[in-house]
Subunit: 181 residues, 2 copies
């Protein structure tokens, strides 16, 4: 059984640097109309990067919407005409100063599919080498290396509160434990 | 080392039913100014609900922002003056027709902290009983029971693409495997 909501009308509310906002009037499966507030966001990437000493690279940064600093894995938006894989390597280098030429695709997921179209492509690498950090001019963050098992414990203790980081690290943990699909 | 971004000005762009949008002008750690587009969203809840037969309750619904039907765990917004725990029980009942009086807190996470303040409180229950489904009038979804191990495999195969579902189910898996913080 498949439901669908047909777009009857679409009103653009805002067109920004990071997000766009539109209101769609949709026809529901029961033929009634409803409104959907939809935030548009570019596709993004995130990468679980593990050192030879089995440490995971985390970045800690201030996030204005929640008014605090939190730990996340390196991540960012895919640029125009850029492949997600290349974006992941670029963001890894920009945010941590490490680079890789051996990166593996893990999965992709939507961060808030109820109201936003943002999709994150998640990768991992266990083969990184030092290059140089290169942050955007409005980006302030620092990178920490945390032993892998401790990152999993930080998640289980509630010390990591970023959904993409929890999803990607625990997905990677599934790969390490060889949970085969 | 802690960074902070001071709000110098805040412009309201939109005030909707589900989201609000504002643009904050912030002072960066280097004293320069920048703009932050911020989507405001009510706190939400999500619940991993497991039957006595070790099946997990998933809801499948059409998500307009991504124009497709996806699997998710039961979830929804916390209502005014409602406790997250009560909201989780309510959403479970409304979306699946099951209820519980034994619910456990797992963790909480932000779905997209770069541009949105949405926080999800995640719970689980292994003690549910049939009550009656009661959807919102603009809500069309159906509930499926999937053997627990199969849900983990669906995640690892990329068949579950909702970040909160991946994060919450794999977090719950950590609890089952007794990964102690």
């Amino acid at each position: 059984m498949d439901y669908i909501e047909r777009t009857m009308k679409s009103d653009k509310i805002y067109d920004g640097k990071i997000v766009k906002l539109r209101i769609d009037t949709v026809e529901l499966p029961n033929k009634k109309y409803s409104k959907r507030e939809i935030v548009e966001h570019s596709p993004a990437v995130a990468i679980v990067a593990v050192t030879q000493e089995d440490e995971l690279l985390l970045v800690k940064q201030y996030r204005k919407p929640i008014e605090k600093m939190i730990y996340e894995i390196p991540a960012g938006m895919v640029e125009l005409k850029e492949k997600p894989k290349d974006a992941a390597v670029r963001e890894l280098r920009e945010e941590t100063g490490y680079t890789t030429d051996k990166i593996e695709y893990m999965t992709e997921f939507y961060t808030s599919p109820g109201f936003c179209d943002e999709k994150i492509h998640a990768f991992y690498t266990e083969d990184i080498e030092i290059d140089s950090q290169n942050l955007d001019e409005d980006e302030f963050l620092y990178c920490v290396k945390v032993p892998y098992d401790d990152v999993v414990k930080m998640i289980m203790r509630g010390e990591i509160t970023d959904a993409k980081t929890i999803a990607a690290v625990l997905f990677y943990d599934g790969i390490r434990r060889k949970i085969h699909a």
